[in-house]
């Protein structure tokens, strides 16, 4: 019963939606700051993916080359 009540209370929060701004700087800063945030977020997200993919592909090529020789 207690669990059910907790569930209902938590569910009732969805009746009063509000916008939550997790990062105050991101939404209240200048336009230039916003652009810098977006740009650097994209940069730091894509960098490891690109680098690890390139290294993986390069290793694959090296091993394939070795197989073809032998």
């Amino acid at each position: 019963m207690a669990l059910f009540l907790q569930f209902i209370i938590v569910l009732s929060f969805s009746l009063f939606p509000r916008i939550v701004e997790a990062c105050a700087v991101c939404f209240s800063g200048k336009e230039e700051s916003l652009e810098a945030f977006y740009l650097t977020t994209v940069l730091l997200t894509l960098l490891p993916l690109v680098m690890l993919s390139l290294i993986g592909y390069w290793l694959y090529r090296q091993y394939r080359k070795e197989e073809n020789v032998s």
Binding site: S33, T40, L43, P48, M51, Y63, K65
Partner: protein, 208 residues
């Protein structure tokens, strides 16, 4: 002379009596190189984070560089940048000589590359001393703080890699327990990284 039972066991298990094991094939890429490549990924992320912090802080300020702060020596650092790039080129040239088994000649150009790297480091140190004299310190402004953080991080990488390179140069072809030209390739890779990241920092911090 008769052999005891323990001696006969030793004879039976000696190297000559064992069936010949097939020679283990060399992997196309050494573990050292793979390890260094993964380390370089973390290094790129480290510098990526510093650059990101620089861009975000800079974007939030109206005036850059801030008023009253000394300007950075663009021309002197341009010459330094050229010296570092030549050092990277010489490192690549020595690598080619090592591949052709011309170890003594390769070692010579490897040494020249280290010398140019050392010149870069000393010259940057002199530049820092001048900037501190003119009032640009870590605590003077966010400009000074970012400058010393980013350029200092690169400087630490230069001195660390140079220490490894000098050690490798010393041990290359040493009479006792030498290291091979293949074994120093990971450190050469690290030097390429240090050389390649500098022009990015130069354009970003000095020119932009």
């Amino acid at each position: 002379m008769t052999t005891t039972s323990s001696q006969s066991v030793l004879l039976a298990t000696s190297e000559s009596s064992l069936p010949r094991q097939p020679k283990r094939a060399e992997p196309p890429v050494s573990s050292g190189v793979i390890g260094m490549l993964l380390f370089m990924v973390t290094e790129v992320m480290f510098f990526g984070a510093l650059i990101s912090a620089y861009l975000v802080i800079r974007a939030g300020l109206d005036e850059w560089p801030p008023w009253g702060q000394p300007r950075l020596p663009i021309e002197t650092t341009a010459i330094n940048t050229l010296v570092l790039l030549v050092s990277g080129f010489l490192m690549s040239y020595s690598r080619n000589l090592f591949k052709k088994k011309n170890i003594s000649e390769g070692r010579k150009w490897f040494g020249y590359s280290i010398l140019l790297g050392t010149f870069f480091f000393i010259s940057q140190g002199y530049e820092w001393a001048q900037l501190i004299k003119f009032g640009l310190t870590v605590s003077s402004s966010v400009y000074g703080g970012l400058f010393y953080l980013i350029i200092g991080a690169h400087g630490f990488h230069v001195i660390g890699t140079l220490a490894f390179l000098i050690y490798a140069w010393n041990r290359l072809g040493a009479p006792v327990n030498p290291i091979t030209s293949e074994e120093i390739f990971p450190v050469q890779l690290l030097w390429y990284f240090v050389v390649c990241v500098w022009p990015v920092l130069y354009v970003l911090v000095y020119l932009d």
